[in-house]
Symmetry: D3
Subunit: 221 residues, 6 copies
């Protein structure tokens, strides 16, 4: 590897706005003596990943993209809360590959006893529940509730925060969540305001995951 | 729908031998006043589905194939023990879509208290375990053990039966399984001999799943 | 076996009305080249199975009834949502014996991620929960709620549908169920209307179970 | 209640030898100012309860027996490790009814982190597993292994202890059990010797359960 | 041991009022031919155990106290619903050591299918959930809800009963609890009135635990 | 905070050798523009933390130590695989507090599907199992096996590696582990050699945890 090692944050949708949001969110993790961190959108991906079809259609493209930057890749982060292609990428490369759903939830497990998830759409929830089941962490789940806004609507940050707050309060008060995970990469800049509003820990999963990727790069395992 | 309704059994690998084996296996489910049952191989699929990359690469093709026969499809069965594309197909069509891993395991749950799985390769097992976790049935799993033979090697039926018997005995005697699921569509014709050899129930998942698909077609839900 | 093979649907209560309802419900599963399907009431059974005492008192009679038709029995279905005598019948005969609670729930597991159950009485619920625990599927349960109507009251189909709809909406909206199981054999003819009303899949467990029994008969295992 | 209140220990098999063994085992729990403790065999019961058919056939008789001594009953203990009729008896009477499987296992949960069970026959194990699942304690189970001796054979105490020791060592060393439950009422007098032999806690479930029944009688709840 | 054997009920807070309440509560378990039962407050303990810091600070003192009465101790009961020091005491002495959370919950498991817990403070709940997880009984938990009263406030018995009743009704009606555990030793005298008010079983955990300790003393294991 | 912010790695035993090992292990995580990382031994702690008594006795001292360096503490890591005092420290300070058992296991969950644990002593295992239960991750555990060496013996690195390898192979081959966690802070320098020997991922929990602490410091949450 001649170039500086990179953590590649792969946003599997085609939105530059979402990608820029991720880029700002991971800024504190860029260090003088750490790896570079590059956020890439997937030009062939959907505008927002909202269905299983979106997921299963984009993976071959995501895999190709990952391989195309393989030379200086020190780690990859799949920045979509369905972790599309996570295991296929792990088969394709020898460096760490982390998914923001997996690592976001694992991070929540050290911040509270029962985690709530704020999903964008009702249709995402059964998919998430299957994933939490595969992870074996269902007993720690308070609830997964939808704010009922599509990925593109999240650009309206004020409305998004309002919905996140309303549904987050239900997670906290009705379902006993003491930590909340933002269930979409497109909410990356809402963490602090929402934590303020709810008074319990809020996990922004891309930040959480890039932080873990940074650690793995530094340790070399 | 002008033509007779069909249950399409989609073998997502390209092997005609495996497809022919499935075709023979489902013969008892073809009834005069029931749906036709057609087994299709996936020409663009791998020779055998053995990795997550295989799975994630074939799904777009499998989806296209499913849509291409949509007109007379009364139900679909995904005939690979990783259930590739199961949820994408469910989004694509309005008729029942069943996967042989899901329905094979659910069938086992009414035949014994602890199910064992006979996988082809060690590398399949973590993937299966994630799936059983997603299904929420981990507490019923005795163990998932590999016979360490690739899909193509299964054509040697004698050797396959010998390996299935050896590992099946370990599932029964060391892990307490009282029912065993064949963890690959390519073992479709081994059920009876293995059941004889082990003395406990053996589930051939494609048969089990097409049977359920038949019932769903007849009931119309 | 000289006579045509039969699937015996054993309704363990003494109600002819309930038995006739089952008979109509399984009509689509009667095929020219399939087994006959006979629905029997249990003359010595209670008017409706509502307590553990009802269950534990009727089993010896149910066993005797099953044995009395053993000669041409290709499979048995126990058509009561407490699956009374399921394991005793399995010990008594060599053909498949299926229970509508077990198979109804297993069927739901391929139709949604979280199943709700509509029970008749509050007192049934702890019994059901024990059963779902024995099945190892508690993690998939959204909730089990009672409509608070006895078996005999179910004859009022309009009132029953109204109650099923009200409580089904609570399962869907408050508890996150995306599939609902009718928790009593006496609701056999409500499936379609309720599915229409709720907009999510509804499992009529006797239909689901006889369909599976049909498949097992055809496959011969 | 004119007579002194009684704890009735209901042995649901017809064996006087087993009943006498229970009678000796509970002797330390007979107190001057506590309830009387009477152990009854079930004349209509099987010689030993070994199958689900045995269980389901005896319950009506067990219920009648329980009701026949209702007048001075302060509590009942069902002294068979399948807890036959437990919930039917709870419906029949207003005093505490405890089962030795349920209370034996709950007792083990405060004596070790992973409990093993010593069953008489292989065929008992799936039934036990369903029960532990219904109790929701599967995560605490190390394993349930059979000593492969029928109830009547247990009268050979020397051979029984030898088999209990051999299989108990496997529970401890191969399965990580740190407490063992005797899975049959007919082993009532082996506890101390087995505990000595294994070096980990051994629960004799009838003693454990009558002790809890005594406490409930004294407290009046 | 020259003196009569004692069950030592160790209240790890310094409150004489709470200790006196426990003393009255266990009165029915004092028998002529049973062990003496002494309730001790911990002078160095906090006024009420409300935080993890309280717990972790008091354990060395609790251990010293337990050892100071070791000579005539036949069993110990840790009478605080966080079971502080339970495993340290088990290492320190050779007689049974029981905790009221552990044994209180195990007792509830034979009185209903889903247990609710009435905690004093919201902050206790994550700690309880970790404990129920360690016990492996999470699947049986209906919910753990706080009455939002500190230990010292419990002296107002009328207000306490009112809050217990309100929150207990929510456990029963919204969360499906059919048995309730009082989640603080300071509620020892409310059991009967609350059971009356709720119409479902209520476990007073110190009584339940001393009863089990009594049984263990009598049996000598 | 005038001084540079620090991550304090609190080794709760008194061993300078173990502390020096940790110091070397975290060296790669010291960055020019990141926090300082200081490893402290606990002078009042035991030579090695091996029992629950060790744990419960040291926590007050550990808490005092943590508070004594509070001024420049940006995060704390409790570097003992029993995570002593984790929740008490979380109550005491406002910065992140992480435990190496919790974070070590969570790290393993993204490196394999079934994690094995290499404990020092048999007596540690029930304590670990309770903790994994509290974390709700029992379904992911392959097994926890002891190498049967005390903390002080670990200084013999060659013998330690040999024992780790032998028992690690059992975790991999007999129990199906595909990732292994070193279950003691005193094995900090064995990770790489063991990973080489086993051919599956090995987690050194102090490294893993300090890496996560670093990320949390950088993100400021």
């Amino acid at each position: 590897m001649n170039r500086r090692p990179h953590i590649y944050v792969l946003n599997p949708n085609s939105s530059q706005i979402v990608t820029d949001g991720l880029d700002r969110a991971v800024q504190p993790l860029r260090l003088a003596d750490g790896p570079a961190i590059s956020c890439l959108r997937l030009p062939q991906g959907p505008a927002g990943v909202q269905s299983q079809t979106d997921i299963d259609t984009l993976i071959p493209h995501l895999r190709a993209q990952a391989l195309s930057v393989k030379e200086d890749a020190a780690a990859y982060v799949v920045a979509c809360f369905s972790d599309p292609g996570l295991y296929t990428l792990r088969e394709a490369v020898d460096v760490p590959v982390l998914g923001i759903a997996e690592t976001g939830v694992l991070t929540a497990l050290s911040l509270g006893q029962r985690f709530g998830v704020l999903s964008i759409l009702q249709a995402s929830i059964p998919r998430h529940l299957r994933y939490f089941g595969a992870m074996g962490v269902t007993d720690r789940l308070a609830a997964d509730l939808a704010i009922n806004m599509g990925v593109s609507e999240l650009a309206d940050e004020k409305k998004t925060l309002q919905r996140l707050t309303e549904v987050g309060q239900r997670l906290r008060d009705e379902h006993g969540a003491d930590v909340v995970v933002l269930g979409c990469a497109g909410m990356a800049n809402q963490r602090e305001a929402l934590e303020q509003a709810l008074g319990i820990a809020v996990v922004e999963p891309t930040q959480a995951t890039v932080a873990v990727a940074l650690g793995r790069c530094l340790l070399g395992w």
